[in-house]
């Protein structure tokens, strides 16, 4: 394992510290307990947005703290959800009285820790709503399982709910917008290589030179199945088809197409995947109205990508377009 780190156990501490130094104009970092808030939090009258999860997915979530997106991000250990004693003070810190929305990716750990934190924040007088993100079509959706994971769609939920909060929507409205994005977004990912969790020191799964993992999550967990390497177009088709089927995307629909890098894949390759996905959508008569290509929700240095499609309506589009000013996503300001 070769990494630009000092100590496997200090990775999150030092990385968040560096992040705070680099973006001191935008964010404030609390180190004990660890959370990141918008410089001007709490914003009077505005609903607060808090997200968080294991570290190793950067820029998610810290990179999305700022005007028009999150008010706070709570980083856990690498691939380990944060604890209530981080989430609670983050929630209190961004509550202006208008309440706080927790944006939670659907993993048992995240759900349980945010659930506890929400309960305790409510006990302290903060109104909390939770938006659960579960957009990964690689996982079967069932009441009898942990259900679908939250992956790429999380970025879009955070941006769009963030814009709703920024324009002054109230607590229930912001949560409702977040839910609406979640209902209209689906994702699926592929890994060409595993990542290595610093404290583990070995790759999170073993892949032969000619194999890829289809349906991976963002924690280095193995995917749904393993297949021989294919070309980019074939892989893109494999990711896109179940997404479109599950969303019921049809000719005439308008969508946002998001090709996300897992951390170790060159941008040039992401654009090759984008090209194919855009071609397929065009053939189906689907209008790609907005796009996002890059490393936004990653799995350390994993090679691979995910494809995310969000069905747009006029309101979602205008919220997507609304100004945002965070370390990792910025426009209009």
């Amino acid at each position: 394992m070769k990494k630009l780190i000092n100590d496997p156990r200090a990775v999150v501490d030092e990385s968040v510290e560096g992040f705070g130094l680099a973006h001191a104009d935008l964010v404030t970092v609390s180190s004990e307990p660890k959370f990141i808030t918008r410089k001007d939090a709490p914003v009077a009258g505005k609903v607060g947005l808090v997200s968080g999860g294991g570290s190793g997915h950067e820029p998610l979530h810290g990179g999305f703290v700022g005007v028009g997106m999150l008010d706070a991000a709570v980083p856990g250990a690498v691939f380990t959800s944060p604890t209530p004693d981080q989430i609670i003070p983050a929630t209190l810190a961004v509550n202006s009285g208008a309440g706080v929305v927790h944006i939670v990716k659907n993993y048992t750990g995240d759900v349980l820790n945010f659930e506890t934190a929400a309960e305790m924040a409510e006990a302290e007088g903060v109104q909390v709503r939770t938006v659960l993100v579960n957009d990964d079509v690689a996982v079967e959706d069932s009441l009898y399982t942990a259900g679908r994971r939250g992956v790429g769609g999380t970025v879009l939920v955070e941006k769009i709910a963030g814009a709703a909060a920024e324009r002054g929507d109230d607590l229930d409205a912001v949560a409702a917008i977040g839910d609406r994005v979640n209902q209209n977004v689906r994702s699926m990912g592929v890994a060409l290589s595993a990542c290595t969790v610093p404290h583990a020191g070995v790759p999170s799964f073993d892949l032969e030179e000619n194999e890829i993992e289809i349906g991976i999550g963002i924690h280095g967990e193995p995917g749904r199945h393993r297949i021989p390497m294919e070309n980019a177009d074939a892989i893109t088709d494999r990711l896109l088809e179940p997404i479109l089927a599950d969303l019921g995307i049809a000719s005439g629909d308008k969508v946002l197409l998001f090709v996300n890098g897992m951390g170790g894949t060159p941008q040039s390759e992401l654009y090759i995947v984008y090209r194919r996905a855009a071609q397929v959508l065009a053939e189906k008569g689907v209008a790609v109205e907005r796009s996002l290509v890059g490393n936004y929700i990653t799995s350390l240095e994993m090679q691979g990508c995910s494809v995310t499609v969000l069905r747009l309506d006029d309101e979602l589009t205008s919220l997507w377009d609304a100004p945002v000013h965070t370390p990792a996503l910025r426009w209009g300001i």
Binding site: A77, F79, T80, D85, T108, G109, S204, F205, G217, E221
Partner: protein, 215 residues
């Protein structure tokens, strides 16, 4: 009581937690490896970090009763472990602590009840059923074995603890062929079969430490 044993007191509780911390450190890599196969390679790291925090808290403010020791453990795990295991073990220890109240020592019936309360806490939070390939598959046989041993009525807490530990270990082994339906391993579907659940193993280690502390 018909048998010459003492109940379990706060010293036992501290020894238990100390041996648990030791076990987590010793089995850290093994638990990471198990989690690597069907999860995200962090269970050993999480548990090791959590029990190190428990040891710090124990040193800071020595508890007066077994129940207090377990409450402190619950708080430390809840605030330092994270992931799925943090809230689940946190709840388990909290419920066990509540079940024990502030009694200075624990007899077999109280012990079996505390183990059951712990398991019920895990189920209440995690909604897993036996056979879902989670730590519940270690807790549930332990609850049953402990209850049976306590009901045998010879008043030997060590026997209760040994029965619970053995049952938990067997339960962990029995997760091997299962297809996970809860937790991160569930994302693998059928590929999760053929691997042991890391949380079931850590549960067995903790219960084995409890027996070790009573010897």
């Amino acid at each position: 009581m018909g048998h010459l044993t003492v109940g379990l007191d706060v010293d036992w509780a501290v020894r238990w937690l100390t041996l648990s911390a030791q076990a987590m450190a010793d089995h850290r890599v093994e638990l990471i490896e198990l989690d690597r196969a069907i999860g995200d390679s962090d269970h050993g790291e999480n548990m090791d970090r959590g029990f190190k925090a428990v040891m710090d808290k124990l040193a800071e403010a020595p508890p007066a009763t077994p129940g207090a020791a377990l409450k402190l453990t619950a708080m430390a795990l809840m605030s330092k472990v994270g992931g799925a295991a943090g809230p689940l073990y946190g709840t388990a220890f909290l419920r066990a602590s509540t079940s024990l109240g502030d009694a200075p020592d624990i007899d077999p019936a109280a012990l079996a009840a505390a183990i059951e309360a712990a398991r019920d806490g895990v189920v209440a939070r995690g909604k897993a059923e036996p056979g879902d390939k989670t730590m519940v598959d270690a807790w549930t046989p332990a609850v049953e074995a402990a209850a049976a041993a306590a009901a045998a009525g010879d008043g030997d807490v060590l026997k209760v603890l040994l029965a619970a530990a053995e049952a938990a270990e067997a339960g962990a082994v029995a997760t091997d062929p299962l297809i996970a339906r809860k937790g991160r391993a569930s994302y693998l579907g059928e590929r999760s079969a053929g691997h042991r659940d890391p949380g079931a193993v850590s549960t067995a280690l903790i219960l084995r430490a409890a027996a070790g502390a009573a010897k």
